[in-house]
């Protein structure tokens, strides 16, 4: 079975630009979460989507937005990129929105570099 897939794997942008990252969850998983991981740190929660609705938001500015599509895939959008947005962006999927303590399964991420 295919795991969580993310695209692109690497991306280089300049300050002020906009970026869209994409994620396809494991088949049958309805929840998608997005994380930012800076080198040497653990993943930081950005968003959770379940059944196409936002169910949770971390402490990130409004420049960050996301959506989930009817097929449960998801996009993360970041506007007005800053140097500090350089990081590995991870997508994770799980069966449900989390009430049963199901684990999240991660893709290999998109490495975003801002010049």
């Amino acid at each position: 079975d295919a795991g969580v897939t993310q695209s692109p794997t690497h991306l280089i942008k300049t300050r002020g630009q906009h970026v869209t990252l994409r994620c396809s969850p494991i088949s049958g998983h309805k929840s998608v979460s997005w994380y930012q991981q800076v080198l040497g740190q653990g993943p930081q929660f950005i968003f959770q989507y379940y059944e196409k609705e936002e169910r949770g938001r971390g402490n990130f500015p409004d420049r960050f937005s996301a959506r989930q599509f009817p097929n449960y895939s998801s996009e993360l959008n970041v506007n007005a990129l800053l140097l500090g947005d350089s990081a590995l962006y991870l997508c994770a999927s799980s069966l449900d929105r989390g009430r049963s303590g199901q684990p999240q399964h991660f893709g290999d991420g998109t490495r975003l570099s801002i010049l």
Binding site: G42, P43, G98, R99, G101, Q104
Partner: protein, 109 residues
């Protein structure tokens, strides 16, 4: 405030030298505690879920245990291929997972 602390930050072991990694947490209700392995340039790989104090899970050379305030990941007779960063995450009430900063494990042949 929900918080996860992992120690040590880094650990170097000789092949076959057993040790333990620690994950301490303060959360408002615990739905689950999760251990992940992360290799360089890759996403975290799920290892274990623990739900209640006293629970233990095993997989090959790894064993995870849980108390009310902390979890341990015991590594028995590690091999070089066990070298990775091990992440602990907690899922309290709400929809957010909280991760620690990880323990970077290096196993020397």
């Amino acid at each position: 405030e929900d918080q996860v602390t992992q120690s040590p930050e880094a650990l170097r072991l000789q092949e076959g030298e057993s040790s333990s990694l620690n994950c301490s947490y303060t959360v408002s209700g615990l739905r689950g505690l999760f251990w992940y392995r992360q290799d360089p340039g890759k996403g975290p790989e799920f290892l274990f879920t623990l739900y209640s104090a006293g629970e233990e899970k095993e997989k090959e050379r790894l064993k995870a245990t849980l108390t009310k305030k902390e979890s341990f990941l015991h590594i028995t007779a590690p091999k070089p291929e066990d070298s990775a960063t091990y992440l602990c995450a907690v899922h309290p009430t709400g929809n957010q997972f909280y991760f620690g900063t990880g323990t970077s494990l290096t196993v020397i042949p």
